[in-house]
Symmetry: C2
Subunit: 448 residues, 2 copies
């Protein structure tokens, strides 16, 4: 039977779901509304566009609305914002942001893929010119244009998470003097402190000034409304640009207003098939919650990998197949200049918070055979349950080739391996790639 799917949000989750439905249901109507000017782009690539490694914002666009029409017969409208979900009439109210026209669009199935928005604190001056946060491709282009036009000499990054670290690199690449301020006593809150310190030290070596345990209280603008100073609870700094990287919140207002349930994280509650509490309404991507396989609870994750998987599962189920999203492990990876950073599973702080009795081991080794040219340092930290030896998590900080090893641990966690299983896993070795015991195995040996 011919049905009609409406998708709210045209980035990773929404467009993956739309394309998946199309592959299964050739004759359905599929309509996507996206309030920004772009569909299906790599938000994770924006820092590298700002930093100059990626030449044009166009490179970040995976597929334009025209391509979706052509290749998938999906009608994707950009600059169209859904302003209301009317469950009783199975329709959404849409505003064309160009013409300002408002119209109803009915649906048989609705997918909410509204993403997340960066948090900006409610402090004076936050709306000044030169104050940014990272969300859409549009926001990245705005920042890029500001840099081109104003040639800022100095940048202040607030928040030392993934976005903060990546943007600090980007600003450094653009020749700015870069300051990073974090409220916590460490950057990279998803790493344990001693691992995060390796990153902080490297950032300092490369010229980033870090200020920990310090919170921004005020932004001072000049007469033209452009930022000139950032004030913290301890001091103040002159700055030409400020970027907030203090996290994101799921965009759930539409869902809330429609009476769709959320979970404690604030994200939309879904079942394993990505269905919401409302019949025929699904949610996927940053706006939806994810089950954490080790924490055994719903968490809020804002990552392209999860959004894509959500989209695939939601699309399959909407189109009538059966698919299940098993959950996440909290895997994440990034880089500062030449230093690679990755984590998966539980950190020590998380294991303590959960009351799990664990053992932990950290080792430093080399990314290749120690005698092989280009072999560099890698530090691996592993956690396992004290009773059973079941692996709980890993953190890796090191140079080229270090971080992608986190996938070995992610697969090991998925397969519920113990530290002993990891030691005896038949991992690969040749001198250009590894020491004879891979660093993750050296850590596992120490753990045992």
């Amino acid at each position: 039977m011919k049905r009609k799917l409406v998708v709210i949000g045209g980035d990773a989750a929404g467009m993956t779901a739309a394309a998946k439905v199309r592959r299964i249901q050739e004759d359905w109507d599929i309509i996507v509304f996206e309030r920004s000017p772009h569909t299906s782009y790599s938000a994770c690539g924006i820092p590298y566009f700002i930093g100059g490694q990626v030449e044009s914002e166009v490179d970040l666009i995976v597929r334009s609305p025209e391509k979706f029409k052509e290749e998938y017969n999906i009608q994707a409208y950009v600059k169209h914002e859904v302003v209301r979900i009317h469950r009783d009439k199975s329709a959404v109210l849409v505003k064309d942001l160009t013409s300002e026209k408002i119209f109803w669009e009915s649906y048989d199935y609705l997918l909410i893929a509204t993403g997340a928005s960066p948090i900006k604190p409610a402090i004076p001056g936050v709306a000044s010119k030169g104050v940014f946060s990272m969300s859409t491709l549009q926001s990245g282009m705005d920042l890029w244009r500001y840099i081109q036009k104003e040639s800022p000499k100095s940048a202040t990054v607030i928040g030392g998470g993934y976005i903060g670290v990546e943007m600090a690199e980007a600003f450094l690449e653009r020749g700015m003097e870069v300051r990073l301020i974090d409220l916590a006593d460490q950057i990279m809150a998803t790493l344990d402190k001693e691992m995060a310190m390796l990153v902080t030290d490297y950032m300092n070596d490369k010229g980033i000034k870090t200020y920990l345990g310090e919170s921004v209280t005020d932004i001072v603008a000049d007469k033209a409304g452009k930022i000139k100073e950032v004030v913290t609870d301890k001091q103040s700094f002159e700055t030409d640009l400020l970027l907030f990287g203090i996290g994101v919140r799921p965009n759930t207002q539409l869902a809330e207003e429609a009476g769709i349930k959320r979970c404690d994280t604030g994200a939309i509650l879904t079942d394993v098939r990505l269905q919401t509490s409302a019949p025929d309404i699904w949610a996927a991507g940053d706006c939806a919650s994810s089950y954490h396989l080790l924490k055994e609870t719903e968490i809020f994750v804002s990552l392209g990998t999860v959004a894509n998987k959500h989209g695939l599962v939601a699309g399959s189920n909407i189109a009538g197949e059966k698919a299940v999203f098993p959950g996440v492990l909290g895997t994440a990876i990034t880089r500062f200049m030449d230093m690679e950073i990755a984590r998966t599973g539980l950190s020590e702080a998380e294991a303590i918070a959960m009351g799990i009795e664990y053992v932990t081991a950290s080792i430093s080794s080399s990314t290749k055979a120690s005698y092989y040219p280009g072999s560099e340092k890698i530090t691996v930290k592993l956690l396992a349950r004290k009773d059973s030896g079941l692996l709980l998590g890993a953190q890796i900080v090191g140079m080229a080739g270090a971080a992608k090893r986190i996938d070995t641990i992610a697969a090991a966690l998925t397969g519920k391996l113990t530290a002993t299983d990891l030691v005896f896993s038949d991992l690969s070795y040749a001198p250009p790639f590894s020491s004879v015991w891979d660093p993750v195995q050296i850590a596992a040996r120490k753990l045992i």
Copy 2:
């Protein structure tokens, strides 16, 4: 109780076991006899010493006999060959290869870690000067000296396995014209043919001439006994150097003469604790068999990773702890110039030979986000059981960053994951490291 361990063979397996025993049993006597001049070296590094990436053979030595004495109080005698095992008197007959003296050494426990030796075919001229095979560090140094002295212009490699491919690169790096001849109709027999072809094509592009389905019948030497020509069943070539890389055989003569059981592979049969059929005699490394977790039978593997694990397990058990070597997956990795090559589990050919009903998928993708600088091609082939979707194996061929992804699959095989489990595994993604679906997941999606 103070005991005495004698180890025959002072490379990876033997020395790992000796060191492990020392860590558990502080007061035992530990004596190692090694017939070559070196202990504990990286045999896998020899091709890179020949190729010039590793400057000195000394870099390949992990620990000298002096270091073993100093750090572990282990007495390691090099240039000492054990010529007989006398089980009834629990002693070995040792020949000092320098003084030619022969003496008995008694033991409470004996570890056989005699390694493997390269196969040289019984053809005319095989003993000519300039004909080599790769085994000990000594053999690598002999080859290196020959290259220094004779400045060969051309080299012929017989056998397109790991050693053959690595040595072809080394000779190319040394400026030689290189020819590679393989009896089979493909190189890299552990890969399926179409994957091996990717390597062959790349080798050809880089200037290696490959001759497949061709067997060497004769080696012709000049009057000084130095190789000048190699003759195959199809043609003949002038060459200044010839290297056999046609496999190795386990060194089991001592064990055989002592009535210790071998398995069908020719290697010494051991239980999961690495104990042989004889009381108090253990075997580890290339001379011992390994259980293949997917083939569910004993196989012969000659790899540093396995030798180290064997050594660790044998050492633990000899010293009175309980340790088990679970088995291997047939993981292997290598490189030809910039091309990386890896495999684990079963190839299509192996699955067919076992009568397993399987499905397979191959994909080409990029090592990083496609728009990210330095993103290069990666081809992944996956196999899974047709009935259950359980993963069976993977092969990867690609450029920088491609091959180490095989460890994700090795961990997945260890954890008995299905293709669907792999698709939804929480693997890492950031543009400098991967596409949003890691290539191994793209392959798994296609497989489903």
